[in-house]
Subunit: 256 residues, 2 copies
DNA sequence: CCGTCGCTGGAATGTCGTTCCATGAACGAG
DNA sequence: CTCGTTCATGGAACGACATTCCAGCGACGG
């Protein structure tokens, strides 16, 4: 599968390399979107044929995985400078990476699902969890806290990137503020009977600064991690509630 | 586009209807996976040709949106029975729906991104937020809390569904417990220097009950929503921290 | 000087979403 | 009862895609 004899990388000067292919793929994804990455367009950009690419890359999914891995690794390693506010650094690093590469969010959820033990997933989990373990919280809550943070970061950052893309569609000079007002306006049109909450939120206005909004969510989860006294007890309560929430039907996987 | 004259639904007895098409699509997705839904396979199952389907449905994306909407609506309306533990009901309703329909998780993130004001997104936001507003928390934190919960629910439930699918690949009799042990085993193989946190989490063992694990995350976020005293102040701190976290480079969208 | 092997790129294959069109079934008008 | 119009059907055709195949290239070891 993989080219075995990569022993001396300087055998030639301008060959097609896996790195060059991944670079071109990232550029194509950034400029033309997810659907813009084609083996044809990639061939054209690299001035070669589709067949040549397959010598270095197994297929499209592996190419996407490699591109995702590259971008995530960069985003995670460059932001680890400042000593305080560790979680904010990791979160904003991913937030900015997803904003620059909107295709990243769907790709990351795909990686999470199809390959949970893969390098991308593990890297994000490790980077997030390391900041969690620096918090004042019992180790028994680490996994739960890291999961919550990771899913929020990925989901909210993806949402933000999507909002930006839609804001651009709204008009050339429209920024996120204008788009958020559009969303709030759409929410106010909803039926008061069926959507009281959404209308109430729209009435009080949506935060216009994306990073402030994003970090507010991070801080909210962090508050949940640190502020609660008995973490182990909480988990026991959760177990009891889960059992109680499933009274009669259907033998699922859980009722151990 | 849409068939206007749907006035009298009983004009004929066994016609191709949008409902029948969506039903068949859901069945196909459940049994054959995301890639199993094809207009050809759908035609075959409905004993017709591809062209006929396009009379009722605009295209594949609309078909997927309709299928997603159907499943989400059912999941959200049936679990709204019990009076207490409202968030758990909503969360478990979505959790179970995603577990039964593993294709739902990717579809939901797609809906969230491509159509944030669409019915699916709004429905989930409303259902989640209604339970948030019942909590003891200031209204200014509602949006943030609802976002955090929604992204966690979708992400964690999708992760769980993916784990189940991978556990089935592990062997016919393997359940989630066996798979979680496999993951923990893989994590223990990681480099102690690069992945100290992940190894530490693996050492203390992973919760085997999926619902308990899931609800622990819900409770953690809920604790963050309720337990912190000054929500408005927190947001102001977040704004200050955001400004401080971006000292030198690159004019982004936020630094207003 | 020649054969081999890593590597290339263009052609070919099969499947997909989508469009087109010839046909049929119901129904109101004459 | 008959005909034209409308709604609806389904099979065939089209273009784009990922992937595979294969005939060749160039450099290096013999």
């Amino acid at each position: 599968m993989t080219p075995q004899t990569r022993k001396k990388p300087e055998r030639r000067t301008s060959p097609l390399s896996r790195e060059r292919i991944v670079d071109a793929a990232i550029g194509l994804l950034d400029t033309a979107g997810e659907s813009g990455l084609t083996f044809r367009s990639l061939s054209e950009r690299l001035a070669t044929g589709p067949g040549a690419i397959y010598w270095h890359v197994a297929g499209k999914s592996e190419l996407l995985a490699a591109a995702t891995d590259r971008v995530v690794t960069i985003a995670l390693t460059e932001g680890t400078a400042g000593p305080p506010g560790g979680i904010h650094d990791v979160a904003l690093g991913l937030f900015d990476a997803i904003e620059e590469h909107p295709w990243l969010a769907p790709q990351l959820t795909t990686q999470l699902s199809h390959n949970p033990t893969g390098p991308v997933t593990t890297r994000i989990f490790e980077a997030t969890g390391r900041q969690v373990s620096a918090l004042d919280a019992p180790a028994s809550s680490w996994f739960t806290a890291t999961s919550a943070l990771m899913h929020y970061i990925l989901g909210a950052a993806g949402q933000n990137a999507a909002n930006l893309a839609l804001a651009r569609d709204l008009g050339p000079e429209a920024d996120r503020s204008a788009y958020m007002d559009t969303v709030a306006g759409a929410w106010k049109q909803l039926s008061p009977e069926d959507y009281p909450f959404t209308r109430a939120v729209a009435d009080q206005g949506l935060e216009h600064d994306d990073r402030v909004q994003f970090l507010a969510g991070i801080d909210l989860i962090v508050a949940g991690v640190t502020a609660r006294p008995p973490a182990a007890q909480q988990l026991r309560e959760g177990r009891a509630r889960a059992a109680e929430a499933e009274p009669p039907a259907s033998g699922r996987t859980s009722p151990r």
